[in-house]
Subunit: 266 residues, 2 copies
DNA sequence: TATCATTTGTTCGTATGTATC
DNA sequence: CGATACATACGAACAAATGAT
């Protein structure tokens, strides 16, 4: 009947949570990914605890990221398999085709283009003056790697679009084409930074995320000759499904390290 | 007396949490970082709610990462300076010093060295045969960027350590020195992949994470001549505090894209 | 379509333990 | 030592979502 002895010193709900967590993490566990955990009522009976204590134990498992709770259905073991899909973030130069190559993802929905001005973080990244805000095209893409959906936003400052008319004509073109057009200005290089956070509810639905697993976010600024920032991109991908891959080659020391993103003087 | 009306529909504890969260996030807030939140008893009186409801509201704020609770002291507003710290992931080559340069982080604790064998994911990354497992040094470092703690694990296969005696002598050396020694074998390049997940409880404590904010995880394999994998690194950093930065230069197309990490035939 | 049992969500009341000052 | 504040635990009730009847 009893599921293992419960020692006094540490909190009961913690002990129950630990036992369940161990059971879940055991390889050939009775709690396989996707399977249902005992209901709160059943935990009460099984461990001889009250409802609040059972709830606290289950909540602890949620905090550990081991299970998900669903109102009216029950608690279910999350799939802990590490991300399999790869999202290559490197850029190659094809000497034969004389253009930059990036992996293209297939489109899930037609891109949406809007036009707003450049402020805040974005202004800093593009080294634009926020007080004299320049306009920009926003192209929002919803793509898929095959195993996961990713959201991709491409932001083209109006000034750059004016310089490269092909961009103004099709700001929602695939990113490979955008790079090809930008390359007309001169050789390109990219600055990228990666962060992660818990997704917001609307992001969960648009990216088809089941749970509260984190969102990987990459920001990329395309630089042209004279290190001029030309383009901004933001990519949101579910960390549970994909990992970002980079190939790192040593840079020549001479290239002065461009440090912090624009610390504008006041 | 009453701190704002409370509508019925949504959960009371949620409404209280929202009000407090808004108050905390307001710029010139009465709840500055470090200041003390009203105690549970005070919240009960102020909003006319019960103890469990007050607790639930405060717990919600903890989950949002806005406050920290301390037994017997109270709840305190966290410093919310978001992703400020940068963790540069690029490598530079100093022609003058004839060595690779990487940003060094300062040590929080002396590194711990253990010795285990190479299996699973690790074996795949290092292209080792799992059935004839090679041993490896594990060096675990606890470092700080100034604004955040990061955990760094360096894994040196015994074969490589035998080839480069300096590594066997000090497997817990800073990563810059490790690279310097490896460079004796030949020119190096790196393969890196990035994922993120919710931290486990013990990771939360060792990295000093407030709560469920995600963990950024980078895996890096150092390759020597003939693309031979020499070294494996894993870095864990709190996504709320740091972002990883990359500088991307186009690669020559000729470099054949090494795709999936070792699909061993059976 | 409507109803019912199951399961989690929310809320109250109450009591006692333990850390901090 | 005592006051304050958070931690743990019990009991009880009703609400809301879900799935099956």
């Amino acid at each position: 009947m009893s599921e293992g002895l419960i020692r006094r010193p540490t909190a009961i709900y913690m002990q129950v949570a630990d036992q369940l967590a161990t059971a879940i993490k055991r390889p050939d566990s009775e709690y396989a990914p996707g399977s249902k955990l005992p209901s709160e009522t059943e935990l009460m009976a099984r461990y001889g605890i009250s409802r609040p204590t059972a709830r606290a134990a289950v909540d602890e498992l949620v905090n550990m990221g081991l299970i998900e709770k669903h109102h009216g259905r029950g608690s279910f073991v999350r799939d802990q398999t590490p991300p399999s899909g790869e999202l290559p973030r490197s850029v190659t130069w094809s000497a034969k085709e004389k253009r930059y190559l990036v992996p293209e993802l297939s489109q899930v929905e037609p891109p949406v283009v809007t036009r707003t001005n450049i402020v805040g973080e974005l202004a800093a990244a593009l080294e634009r003056d926020e007080d004299d805000a320049e306009d920009a095209f926003h192209a929002d893409h919803l793509l898929t790697t095959g195993s996961a959906r990713v959201a991709h936003r491409v932001i083209i400052p109006i000034g750059v679009a004016a310089e490269v008319p092909a961009l103004a004509a099709a700001p929602d073109a695939p990113i490979g084409e955008i790079y090809a057009h930008l390359a007309e200005i001169g050789p390109l290089w990219w600055d990228e930074w990666v962060s992660a956070r818990t997704p917001l509810p609307d992001e969960r639905s648009s990216l088809g995320l089941a749970d509260a697993s984190p969102l990987l976010i990459t920001h990329r600024v395309t630089h042209g000759p004279d290190d001029r920032p030309l383009l901004y991109e933001e990519l949101h991908a579910p960390a549970a499904r994909v990992r970002l891959t980079y190939q790192i080659r040593p840079e020549r020391k001479t290239t002065k390290p461009r440090t912090s993103r624009s610390s504008r003087a006041v």
